[in-house]
């Protein structure tokens, strides 16, 4: 049994290391608006979006283009993993406030992303 511990630990460590290496973008929800409303991410890479909801009410992040749907409770934060994406624009919105809470993920080439950051 002991000999199986090492590969398993290695697997967990590799997964954790891969997760740590992911580009992270933080988006704040305030007064039912996204800050920033446009997020630039590298194409071809998995990205971790961290949503921080500063409102008292919950918000549900929804994106048909990214195939993601996640409830962010009031005064809480949550993560959504997206990608790897092709270069282009992907809209997302707050399902509870679709008129105001609108945002966009812009996937650019890694070179353009590195230059921008």
């Amino acid at each position: 049994m002991h000999k199986y511990k090492s590969p398993l630990t290695l697997l967990i460590l590799l997964h954790s290391a891969a997760a740590l290496a992911l580009p992270e973008m933080t988006i704040t929800i305030r007064d039912h608006l996204f800050y920033p409303a446009e997020v630039i991410v590298p194409a071809g890479k998995k990205v971790k979006l961290i949503f921080i909801n500063q409102d008292d009410t919950p918000e549900e992040i929804d994106s048909f283009e990214l195939n993601r749907e996640k409830v962010i409770f009031g005064n809480a934060q949550a993560n959504v993993f997206i990608g790897p994406l092709e270069e282009g624009q992907y809209t997302f919105f707050g399902e509870y406030h679709p008129a105001s809470a609108v945002g966009k993920v812009i996937a650019v080439s890694p070179e353009t992303f590195d230059n921008a950051h």
Partner: protein, 252 residues
């Protein structure tokens, strides 16, 4: 807020009403069994909503998605069992499927209602929107019930039921990709120009057959396996049963 409530109610409640119609035609349970299932499901969802912050923080913020995955997988396994065996005297099995299926759906809508209930001027649109949504859901359910009841071949109803549950379980793939428990290989194609996910047809097809305009290979594979597996297992069971019956009986 009114339109928003209708849209959210339809998104969360329409699959429940479609399931009720399909179960009623396929397994012929009594309404009291199905309604008991809905009641239990709503009570369990209330428990989830009451502990929403705790649940959502499980497994580094993946708790809510994992809970949805567990309920979807459980509901699928019970529904698959219903497809494999003869759908006779399965009232409580049908009720259990409904109860498990209702939990994530009603929890999602409850989060919205609870979150905005005490907001100024929100109560009337929420109640009105829920009533309108309820009316649309009942209409669709009755229409589906009448349509399926008129079908004489039970295989058609069984396939429709299998397709519905397969479409629901395929959502597990999207949930696991969202929390990074599963890689996202990207879409195989994009049919968004023909039927967009956000269109009315897209929503309806999503509920009925798990339609995705841009599905990944994982999603499609799960959908097809989940559809074919119970139908295949049923065919094998019937084949074995028929063969064992047709064997000549030797008497001593």
């Amino acid at each position: 807020m009114l339109i928003n409530t209708v849209v959210l109610f339809l998104r969360d409640a329409l699959p429940i009403f479609v399931l009720l119609s399909l179960l009623r035609v396929y397994a012929s349970p009594k309404w009291r069994h199905l309604l008991a299932g809905v009641g239990v499901g709503i009570m369990l969802a209330a428990l989830v909503v009451a502990n929403q912050h705790t649940v959502s923080q499980w497994y580094q913020g993946s708790g809510y998605e994992l809970l949805k995955c567990i309920t979807l997988i459980t509901a699928y396994m019970l529904a698959a069992w219903l497809i494999i065996k003869e759908p006779k005297h399965v009232y409580w099995l049908a009720a259990t499927i409904v109860a498990v299926f209702v939990v994530p759906r009603s929890a999602d809508f409850s989060v919205f209602v609870v979150g905005f209930w005490f907001q100024k001027d929100a109560l009337v649109p929420i109640l009105l929107g829920t009533t309108l949504g309820l009316g649309i859901c009942v209409s669709v359910a009755v229409l589906l019930d009448v349509l399926l009841s008129s079908v004489t071949k039970s295989a058609v109803v069984r396939t429709a039921f299998a397709l519905f549950v397969a479409g629901q379980i395929a959502n597990v793939i999207l949930l696991l990709q969202q929390i990074d428990w599963l890689a996202d290989p990207g879409p195989l194609w994009n049919m968004g120009v023909i039927i967009a996910d956000e269109s009315e047809y897209g929503h309806l097809l999503k509920v009925l057959i798990g339609y995705e305009a841009a599905p990944s290979s994982f999603y499609l594979l799960t959908l097809f396996i989940a559809l074919l597996l119970p139908l295949l297992m049923r065919a094998i069971r019937l084949y074995v049963q028929r063969n064992s019956r047709s064997k000549p009986e030797y008497q001593a």
